[in-house]
């Protein structure tokens, strides 16, 4: 695998093409242009070039200052974070960025209650703002024009990491209020009023057709690179995308979390010349088999309605059998385009490369052992115990390929017939939240590099994205304790929690993700980190015929 991050470097201006237009396609249009509403990777990856916040992640996922002058000062009780912001920062319309803008932006995000508003939950007064009882979080205080503080209700070691996320990007309160109420978002759709602090500003947008961006003149941070225009087209047909790319119509494919069709990846990867255009970047995503842990109505969590054969200690042999019966090499070969779309997960649910990863081959249930799987199945009551089982997934090509392969392997290795059922994304997530499926597809793309992002949303009791209704008081207790500490002091606890998940085979871990980029040789600096952070200012277009 090739890491393709950072600027191209080493090319003087004489090597640059006259036309410095960066163009690329996206399957779907952006959904939300307002940072307070954003939740889709497409939206975030595009608009991180137009907006910014106190911090950002570098190519190695280290959190580094962006608008902040440095790391926050944290009070001895771990409750108050004081931020200093650079005094030369301006929005592209010339408005200076001050502490008031950050306080306004964060209060606004809490009031809007977008999908990621809960990132602000640690701040004092969040609940009142979220409930509409107040407009300002009491924990946010302006110290001076360029200093403000956030006081938390309880120590939260992950708060600093969350500071680098899009929901906490700064917006221009003058512009927002001039366009309407603080919670309105119409300003963000209009290129004239979509004012941010990023290196690029939106210059045109035709919904479901195209977006255009241009570098911000005299950007406060200095250079915006060589790119003079960014043109994004919405093209749903991936074949049409590739055809245009191959004719030179696009600089690259892969920005904004786009992927290639399996056949195209294989074609490029198997040709020595074409392969040079293909870049495979590990991404912060794990996919696994979700098992239902319900033992009855409202047991062990309130979302449960019926009992599952996979639940609890009684269901552990079945979970183990279903996991051991999978030859992950075969799965990766078939469902991940010969390993170009993912790599097998052998180190627990937290993705390789992220904090909390347990290490290669530390998951004993991620190996293929047909004999042991059959033995475990028999000990659990045999295939009859399982009955008619349906594995459910949200419809897309990879999920289908995964399910077809799992069903084939379970039938061949366990003698269990599992039906594959697909449903639309919205229905799937709605039903999964209610723990409606006995066995299902699950995956998690990390929002940030902190184990709390995994446990809070997936594995504590009543976690919002659990889907399995898993509940373990030990995990709950450890998580509560770890969340209060800085990551340097809590990482071992998180790892111990991850180990508990592995030991109990809570998830049938399948594979870790790979982001594919198809980039012409004359395009340098394209790529991003495992969190899909792509900065257009790093890209250069070299001379080409």
């Amino acid at each position: 695998m090739v890491a393709a991050c950072g600027g191209g470097g080493g090319n003087n201006s004489s090597n640059l093409a006259a036309d410095q237009t960066l163009s690329f396609p996206m399957v779907d249009d952006v959904g939300n242009t307002d940072p307070a509403h954003m939740s889709a990777a497409v939206d975030i990856d595009i608009f991180r070039n137009s907006y910014s916040g106190l911090y950002k992640f570098d190519d190695q996922l280290n959190e580094v200052p962006d608008i902040a002058t440095g790391a926050p000062t944290v009070s001895t009780d771990g409750l108050t974070y004081t931020y200093k912001i650079k005094q030369n920062v301006k929005f592209w319309n010339g408005d200076p960025v001050k502490a008031d803008d950050f306080i306004f932006s964060w209060n606004r995000a809490a009031a809007i209650q977008g999908d990621y508003a809960s990132l602000l939950q640690p701040v004092q007064g969040y609940d009142d703002v979220a409930a509409g009882k107040a407009t300002q979080m009491t924990g946010l205080k302006k110290v001076d024009d360029y200093t403000f503080s956030a006081t938390l209700t309880a120590p939260a070691g992950y708060w600093y990491t969350e500071n680098a996320l899009w929901t906490l990007w700064v917006v221009d309160q003058k512009v927002v209020l001039a366009a309407g109420k603080a919670t309105d978002s119409t300003w963000a759709d209009n290129p004239a009023t979509a004012v941010g602090t990023g290196q690029f500003k939106m210059t045109a947008r035709t919904p479901k057709q195209s977006l255009d961006f241009a570098p911000v003149p005299n950007w406060y941070g200095g250079s915006t690179g060589t790119i003079t225009k960014v043109h994004i087209e919405i093209v749903a047909d991936q074949k049409a995308q590739l055809t245009k790319y191959e004719s030179g119509g696009y600089s690259l494919i892969g920005f904004a979390n786009q992927s290639l069709t399996p056949e195209d990846v294989i074609r490029y990867n198997s040709d020595s010349q074409l392969k040079k255009q293909l870049t495979l970047q590990p991404s912060a995503r794990t996919s696994w088999i979700g098992f239902n842990f319900c033992t009855g109505k409202a047991q062990p969590t309130k979302s449960c309605t019926t009992s599952s054969v996979f639940a609890g200690d009684a269901g552990k042999p079945l979970r183990e059998a279903f996991s051991l019966a999978i030859d992950r090499d075969q799965l990766i070969d078939i469902a991940c385009s010969k390993g170009t779309a993912c790599v097998k997960a052998t180190g627990g649910v937290i993705t390789k490369g992220l904090k909390g990863y347990l290490g290669d081959n530390t998951d004993p249930w991620a190996k293929f052992d047909k004999a042991q799987a059959q033995q475990l199945l028999q000990s659990a009551g045999g295939a009859a115990k399982v009955g008619n089982l349906t594995y459910t997934y949200n419809a897309n090509a990879q999920n289908k390929a995964v399910c077809d392969n799992l069903a084939s392997q379970w039938k061949a290795n366990l003698g269990v017939t599992v039906q594959c059922a697909s449903t639309d994304r919205a229905s799937f997530f709605n039903a999964r939240t209610k723990c409606a499926y006995p066995i299902f597809r699950h995956s998690w793309g990390a929002d940030y590099d902190h184990p709390q992002d995994w446990f809070d949303f997936l594995f504590v009791t009543d976690a919002g994205s659990s889907g399995s209704c898993y509940s373990n008081p030990q995990i709950d207790s450890m998580e509560k304790d770890a969340n209060q500490k800085p990551l340097s002091n809590s990482l071992d606890t998180y790892k111990a929690m991850n180990k508990i998940l592995v030991d109990n085979c809570v998830t049938g871990n399948l594979f870790y993700g790979i982001q594919q980029y198809l980039v012409h040789p004359y395009v340098q600096g394209a790529g991003g980190n495992a969190l899909y952070d792509n900065y257009w200012a790093d890209v250069k277009i070299l001379q080409h015929s």
């Binding site: 294989i266 074609r267 198997s270 070969d333 289908k400 077809d404 392969n405 084939s408």
Partner: protein
């Protein structure tokens, strides 16, 4: 006056030329044997039936089993038709697909006939209000886009109401409910013509009831065109199933439908054309075979073709 001598009557045996007695089917068979394309079509169909029967008990590999070898492997001695994008043996899946094809084709032809023949007979025999009502329904049905209705039927019956699992049966029902009108209209026309024929009048005069007239006299004499129509319904049903499966709306994986197989291989045409070629060639040959046989049967049953 001399009395005329009686004319001697020669002792001759009267003989009559009795034509060879032939039934409708034997007459048709006699003529179809002279139609080489129809014979080839029939031969292919027999092979298809044999392969379908064999696949019920044996295929080189299970049709659902993935990774029997490297994905996208081209044809080789071990796998004469190669392996698909999931490493499944294409020959095995072609054999399994033959069974699906036969089930869908013959099942649809039977149900189409079961719906269309009674309605056509009633409309043509009774005429008047019965004919008006049935013809009205037929015309209305013709006005509805059949493919769209069939898609909706598959979705409603299987996915929404869960009345019938997604499989061959629901495809057959959806097809039949949207394509029965051809048979009904054909049989109606036959019944309208036959009810005026002398043998039907004779039977009626002899006291035959309507049921007997329909079943014993009119239906058997309309059988030729009905067989031809049913033969043409088979490839239409096969194509319909393949089309639905190609779109991902037909039989669920890993059912080895030829349409689904073509769909699986279609994106890999650039570097693994065998995946899409095998099912499409099988499908094309099957469709041609049924059409050749149908043409032959039509000619064979058509009285105007007699020499």
């Amino acid at each position: 006056m001399a009395q005329a001598a009686p004319v001697a009557q020669p002792d001759v045996e009267l003989t009559y030329e009795i034509p060879e007695q032939v039934t409708l089917l034997s007459d048709a068979w006699r003529r179809i044997r002279r139609n080489r394309l129809a014979l080839v079509g029939g031969g292919v169909i027999i092979v298809l039936l044999i392969v379908a029967l064999i696949s019920m008990v044996w295929t080189p590999y299970p049709t659902w089993l993935q990774a029997v070898g490297p994905t996208y492997q081209p044809p080789s001695p071990a796998h004469p038709l190669g392996l698909d994008n999931a490493g499944r043996d294409i020959l095995s899946r072609i054999m399994g697909g033959a069974l699906i094809t036969v089930q869908v084709g013959i099942g649809s032809a039977i149900i189409v006939s079961l719906i269309g023949i009674p309605l056509g007979l009633l409309a043509g025999f009774y005429r008047g209000k019965v004919d008006t009502a049935i013809s009205f329904v037929i015309n209305i049905w013709y006005g509805i886009p059949d493919l769209l209705v069939a898609l909706i039927l598959v979705f409603v019956l299987s996915d929404a109401l869960h009345l019938i699992p997604r499989g061959v049966l629901v495809i057959v029902i959806a097809f039949s409910l949207t394509r029965w009108m051809d048979v009904a209209r054909l049989v109606r026309g036959q019944a309208l013509a036959l009810r005026e024929r002398e043998f039907v009048e004779a039977a009626r005069m002899a006291g035959a009831r309507d049921y007997a007239l329909l079943v014993r006299h009119i239906f058997p004499n309309a059988l030729g065109p009905i067989i031809v129509q049913a033969t043409f319904a088979i490839p239409a049903a096969v194509l319909f199933e393949a089309f639905l499966s190609f779109l991902g709306l037909g039989l669920p994986p890993p059912t080895p439908s030829w349409g689904a197989m073509a769909s699986d291989g279609y994106h890999g045409m650039d570097f693994a054309p065998h995946i899409v070629l095998a099912p499409t060639i099988a499908l094309s040959i099957t469709l041609m075979a049924f059409n050749w046989l149908g043409d032959g049967l039509r000619d064979a049953f058509d009285p105007r073709m007699r020499r």
